[in-house]
Point group: C2
Chain length 483, copies 2
């Protein structure tokens, strides 16, 4: 299926019309739309999971959990907008005594307009048609046009039908939601003047190309891309000595989860030199089953990626087979190891994401070498520390805070909680913005501040009325109030 340009223009024109209605809708109305979509997904979970599994091979357990996460996410955003802080309502009353006199000024965040959402291959629900980007854009009053991922077209279409029907039944306006597919439709979408922001989850080359396109428009628009991440893990000598086997088991579970196709897969693991951790990890990884990859293209890229690492001088294969050219067998886990000194010598070759069940152990001789090698790691979604209680890891935490959006302790980065505190985004290339694509604050990507000066109350959003009829948190004359 491919969406012709004429269709696209009609779709984005309808989105522009819908934007007027969605911007004027109350938070309660928009919350009810999100809840309706969540209920509809849950009601159709069996059918949706069956389609998804046939297209992605991710398995019904994982996929059923992902539907729950997706509907839960929609419900969280309903809660977020009902709570009202997301409007960032600020009132500064006039001050005629100041020099110069200050006018009455009231600021609120408004929806940015129609948003294009590019679905991911690896989360056919949570980062796809009705995923976090769609949910956060709809929540704040932005119509959404989703570009389906070619890896799960039937699921995308069926999900879109369910979403559209639920929205219509709940009273949302025509044009609030549409699905397009095909590469040209995606490119045209990013260039369409009606589109005011883009959410994207995918590869670095694909994402960068669209990022460049969004920025080269006559009117550039924000491009919120999540592109790629190595997710470094650091294990201290003390932690390794105390619980090496347990750490190996945890790591094996994390890097092979979902056939290593998580954006938070731990791809680099820094360990002290001269330990038996590699052997433990080889042992823990050897029984991990092979798994079918999401798409043929991803399956083909995996052995290429493995060879790229294996071909580098100073790299050893700890476990698994680099030659995996029979796609029919699925992807098998491979663990590599090298030294931090070698990473310092060829950072570009060794610090490249390889999508699939593989990870690279990096042995560091001392703290300085660890810090130097970590400094070469590109921006990541996560950074993880495994240390013993009482160890001083403050310098390491500070360094990880500079290169990642989420810093974990004694855990594994796969698995992303959807809540108020989540930050799923980090320095480029992890993401292309200072925002998160998961969790409550994801809505801020699709909002634009507007201040009203000396406005009659009749034209103001209720959030800015003096009496605070919505009862929401606001800042009034510099003081935060709970409403």
């Amino acid at each position: 299926m491919s969406t012709a340009t004429l269709d696209l223009t009609a779709i984005t024109a309808a989105a522009t019309e819908a934007a007027k209605v969605t911007a004027a809708a109350s938070d309660a109305e928009r919350a009810s739309w999100l809840t309706a979509v969540a209920d509809a997904l849950d009601a159709n979970v069996t059918e949706l999971v069956a389609i998804a599994d046939s297209e992605t091979s991710l398995g019904t357990v994982r996929l059923t959990g992902e539907v729950a996460r997706t509907s839960g996410q929609l419900r969280l955003f309903a809660k977020v907008i009902t709570e009202g802080s997301y409007l960032e309502a600020v009132i500064d009353h006039a001050d005629p005594t100041s020099a110069p006199p200050k006018p009455d000024l009231r600021r609120i965040l408004r929806p940015i307009g129609p948003v294009a959402v590019f679905s991911a291959s690896n989360f056919p629900f949570a980062f796809s048609v009705a995923g976090g980007d769609t949910a956060s854009a709809l929540a704040v009053g932005c119509p959404v046009v989703v570009k389906a991922h070619s890896g799960h077209i039937r699921l995308s279409e069926r999900t879109a039908e369910i979403v559209s029907e639920a929205l219509a039944k709940a009273g949302a306006p025509d044009g609030i939601f549409a699905l397009v597919s095909g590469r040209e439709a995606g490119t045209a979408l990013v260039q369409d003047p009606a589109i005011k922001a883009v959410g994207f989850t995918g590869s670095i080359p694909g994402g960068r190309a669209l990022f460049d396109l969004a920025n080269s428009r006559p009117e550039p628009i924000p491009f919120y891309g999540e592109l790629g991440s190595l997710n470094p893990v650091v294990i201290t000598a003390d932690a390794l000595a105390e619980r090496g086997q347990q750490l190996a088991a945890g790591l094996a579970g994390s890097f092979t989860m979902g056939a290593g196709q998580f954006c938070t897969k731990p791809g680099l693991v820094f360990i002290p030199a001269g330990t038996d951790f590699a052997a433990h990890l080889a042992e823990a990884s050897k029984d991990k089953p092979t798994a079918a990859m999401l798409t043929e293209r991803i399956a083909e890229a995996y052995p290429d990626g493995l060879r790229n690492v294996a071909d580098q001088p100073g790299v050893a294969v700890v476990s698994g087979t680099v030659q995996q050219d029979s796609l029919a067998d699925g992807a098998a886990p491979v663990v590599f190891s090298t030294s931090a000194a070698n990473v310092l010598e060829r950072p570009e070759e060794l610090l490249e994401e390889c999508f699939g069940p593989t990870t690279l152990l990096i042995e560091y001789a001392n703290q300085d070498e660890l810090a130097a090698a970590l400094a070469k790691v590109p921006g990541s979604l996560t950074g993880t520390v495994h240390a013993q209680p009482g160890e001083d890891v403050s310098a390491l935490v500070e360094q990880l805070s500079g290169l990642a959006g989420r810093v974990l302790f004694d855990g594994w980065p796969t698995g992303v909680a959807v809540n108020w505190a989540q930050q799923h985004g980090g320095p480029y290339p992890a993401t292309t913005s200072l925002f998160t694509s998961v969790g409550a604050t994801a809505v801020r990507r699709f909002q634009r501040p507007v201040a009203y000066q000396d406005a009659p109350e009749t034209v103001l959003h209720p959030a800015l009325h003096d009496s605070n009829p919505l009862g929401i948190p606001r800042r009034v004359d510099g003081v935060l109030t709970l409403g």
Copy 2:
């Protein structure tokens, strides 16, 4: 003066070192640095204003006021960081009962790193060396490298000396602040890997070139540019009938203020067709004195801009002289008029910013024509409505909200209050981001969220400790608390 590349590398390396100290400094410390700079500016106001006047011809009254605004701005940001909301501290405690179990997650905004600030020509204090961009970056812990504007180099250097000395005396680290000058230094700054964000105030061509440069870096960085704005004003028939002369006087004062070199100058004024407003405005404008322009380049561009408008079919000169080629006499006010129908016919030619004391009256035949012509106006910093009490202007306000960052009622857009509710930014080309460059929330441009998962309290920022030792507003388990 021009800054050699070698110097620049040393400067940004020092900024990177300083960033570690500024990020670790407490809010109280950083607030004291800002206050020290504010005090130093105020203490040197006479000397600074004298230099500024000799370089910009803006006059001592205006410039003295601008110093007060600039030091007041520094003090506002000291207040903002002391209040603590700007950290957006969020704590979600672990929930082992949820499926999957939720970890303890705590999110905070951290400084993005060294920031490059490009000064503006038209506000030698408030949007320059120690202006809003610098103040907001320093406030949140980002070192600043300022690119001086060539229109007031001596002032920039003297201000930088005062700022550097005040920061050093107050205990701020070496490398926290530097000044560079010359076009090549500016270009190199935007491309320097140590620079993590850019603040810019200037022209559309210059700003767009740097925006493109920032986005084409191997690691793109946010470019917060304020580029150009037409600031449309709409006057209703009722308002005109009731107080036409008063409106003409107000408009004449606003469009000629500072020789029309304000980014919020009302450049387009929509009025009902067939009134005597143009005559009133001609009368009100005729005695406005000529004024020297900020720089030779701006002075030379003004008559060119006037001719561009005058040469369009359907444009009449209401008052003033288009031929102003004797720069020695200064710039004289010129008022043009045309019809909304003509704007619809040649929007690109007529809807272009002309820096200087000129404005274009646009006569609309009816509301539909007004709406259609307004729809052609590019993104603006402000949009203004003059209406009578009780008139239904909701559709107009909605339209202006879509094209501007600040919507004013019965006032004039020149003059920008510095407070919590201010929004100085609008859709492109007014600005290149969803943020403001004036007011409390300007700090958010230079902050990056980081979440800490299951972290021991010893490595966490005090804002994220359970006991809330800083006593600041936070969101805990979804509930906003005042601290």
